[in-house]
Symmetry: C2
Subunit: 445 residues, 2 copies
């Protein structure tokens, strides 16, 4: 990629169209877009402008979203409008949403009436919904056509459609009747009726379902594209596999961040502002500090026990840490399994029963591991207290970690909120209470 970067810089210095366009022979649009993202918007604009309009639209579509908006802001009105009309419907809608009101007013008159309405509709769906990632550039067939007619039509439409490999049969009201793949069309005899060839049991989603659902369906059924319908079963768009892959990646990133109590970032971690990074981390950290004060209050309650046996404090980080770790494990397993659909809420009791056994075994193993240190540091009595506490704390942590994602799910919250830090904080409180209660009991005898 260093070579591509150099070529782009050379083209920029000399304003040399030939050098610039020659990059297209060697590199994919995705790489050119990525390389251009390293330039300042002011430098990227003249570079992008040197491409032919069709290539420009392609390169532009591979720029990261923040860069698209910045470059668009510098473009002349008619240039932006021209670019706009060549972009793919779904990408155009995303860019439209990133523009300010003035820019929007600039590009709208450049579009045909139908395109304008299509754009307004696509741009109106909330982020994270199927509507926000679907496109309106799909190929449709009429049910009374024969295969040869269908193929002719597809050949005509191919340049403007996001995919022609999966086509959709609709009636006059645009209701979805069935689907046919290009492979099936090619293999069929030319005079077969489309209605005979189509598969009429079609998996579809609606605009307001989550993009995760669409990605899950595409993966489950190995689809190239998933049709999107409205309440009357009318076809309004499709979600293609590549957008579904991006959506799945985005969701996995969000879940990975949530697993450590970080809010959803607007941009990638290397691009996001320091303020945004602070803001998305501080909320949970402060909440958890107040959670941890319950541990403190627990300790205050046992101040006498601690004063008379300071050696007990030695084992405190070890015990509460272990409960938190076991709990984090159980929570991470459940959050992911709920996200992928491997388990659902009805599985909780079965999984709880298993966790009873696993958590107990883990606690017992760790109790044995620390028993020796307990004897060495605090004598046999303390060793017994520590070991017994370990079993209870690890088991309790595991059960809390396992159950919390299900409880959050039940009250319609994202199970991923059951992060490691949250589970660890809850386990800390439990750990303090169990440990010092046991200690007071045993040592008072």
């Amino acid at each position: 990629m260093a070579h591509l970067q150099q070529k782009l810089e050379l083209a920029l210095v000399n304003l040399d169209k030939l050098t610039l366009r020659s990059t297209l022979d060697e590199y994919h649009f995705a790489d050119i877009g990525q390389a251009l993202a390293e330039f300042a918007p002011k430098e990227a604009l003249p570079l992008i402008s040197m491409f032919s309009l069709a290539d420009r639209a392609k390169v532009f579509s591979y720029l990261p979203p923040y860069m698209q908006a910045d470059v668009a802001a510098l473009m002349k009105r008619h240039k932006l409008a021209a670019l706009f009309s060549r972009m793919e419907a779904d990408e155009r809608a995303d860019l439209f949403n990133a523009l300010d009101d003035e820019q929007r007013a600039m590009v709208l008159p450049g579009l045909a009436q139908a395109e304008r309405e299509d754009l307004r509709k696509l741009a109106s769906y909330a982020e994270g919904t199927v509507g926000s990632i679907m496109t309106s550039d799909y190929a449709t067939l009429k049910e009374h056509w024969v295969v040869s007619r269908a193929l002719k039509q597809l050949r005509l439409e191919a340049p403007d459609k996001e995919t022609i490999y999966q086509t959709y049969v609709i009636d006059r009201e645009r209701r979805l009747l069935g689907t046919i793949s290009l492979r099936e069309l090619i293999l069929a005899s030319p005079d077969t009726a489309v209605s005979d060839l189509m598969r009429s049991e079609v998996v579809s989603v609606t605009v307001d379902q989550t993009q995760e659902t669409a990605a899950h369906q595409i993966r489950h059924y190995d689809l190239l594209a998933l049709p999107v319908v409205d309440e009357q079963q009318k076809l309004v768009g499709i979600v293609t596999y590549d957008d579904a892959m991006d959506a799945a990646e985005e969701e996995a990133t969000e879940d990975a961040q949530k697993s450590a109590s970080v809010g959803k970032l607007d941009e990638t971690v290397d691009r996001v502002s320091i303020w945004e990074l602070y803001r998305k981390r501080v909320l949970w950290l402060v909440l958890l500090v107040f959670g941890a004060m319950f541990s403190g209050a627990g300790i205050a309650h046992f101040e006498d026990t601690i004063s008379s046996h300071v050696a007990l404090v030695f084992f405190l980080p070890l015990l509460i840490g272990s409960g938190g770790n076991a709990g984090s494990q159980a929570a991470a397993l459940m959050v992911r399994a709920l996200a992928t659909g491997e388990v659902d809420k009805s599985d909780w009791s079965k999984l709880f029963a298993r966790e009873l056994l696993v958590g107990f075994s883990l606690g017992l193993t760790m109790a044995i591991a620390v028993y020796g240190v307990g004897v060495y540091r605090g004598g046999p009595e303390v060793a017994i207290i520590v070991s017994m506490s370990m079993v209870i704390i690890v088991l309790a942590g595991s059960l809390v970690g396992l159950s919390l994602p299900f409880m959050l799910n039940k009250i319609k919250m994202d199970p991923a909120t059951a992060s490691g830090p949250l589970v660890a904080t809850i386990a800390d409180v439990t750990g303090v209470l169990v440990y010092f209660s046991l200690a007071s009991l045993v040592l008072a005898i």
Copy 2:
């Protein structure tokens, strides 16, 4: 799906082929496979056997891996061999790997010589590599062909190829020369030479690269399939987008589990054995217990300070927990960004500088949050100790959490090993030392 389940049960009781096959009109193979997975292998076998061979191979391919092996184990030799020969090359290889030696010896004679060699090769690649998810069912074109010849050939081969939408142009030695999409073939005039139409700058991978790399390339370039070549640039297979999606999902699951120090599970969390679940969790838990003993040792060192100011213990869980939480956040952000390729090792110093500022701001905010409680619980001196410790501990935790994934990457370990629990344990030790050192210093004055 409850309806599908009922239908299958009915078909099983009556051994009724018609009922069974009628499910195919209503449901996708993926759903039938999923529903069959709920049956015991002994029940699933007669059900599967009632499908026609072609449908049986399809349904079978959608069974989860553990179920495939169990059902195959119950099948008669010639039935299994027949099924085997109808499966797709990559899925056949996966099943082959799940069979025992005796079963392998049973199925091999049923295959043609070429298929047998193909199978042996595909089955030989290590799990997690490109080789393990690629297929040998791809469509190739010769460079001297014209478009009409190419289309004719594709029509012939379509039923046996995993995809005909992306085709590969090879020379006599099977070296990869270029690639053409079916869309381009259909749009081109019939007498255009394949060599003129093909795109010769092809993105490819080799068999021993990781499946993550393949998935990343497919996503980055929006590919339908990615060609796999050997050292001599000879085409040996393709990875299709649907297998790449599965691989990406699998990797995200593995990383989610690693983020909480859980080893890679052989099966989904609801299917995995209790022993396996115990085994994959206990290792890190016990390791971390010994890590936590350093915290204990730190506490033992400050036993006098603690004895004379027991109120200090009140703030211990709060302080070490906060360091762990901030560190977990930073680690989770970096592990994910490294996995998606948003950042690479060269970005560490830049990110470290940012984290200095973010971590300090977070620490300061939390110090302010606990200052009041500090005064209330321990007086102004303790409040200052707690607040100062908070700033240092949160900053240190953040920097450790940020850096650990990069260090692991440097020594060729998976950055995801920098789990929340590991970072929290390190932060605990740091926290104990910082807090009680400061306390000894200030309170001794």
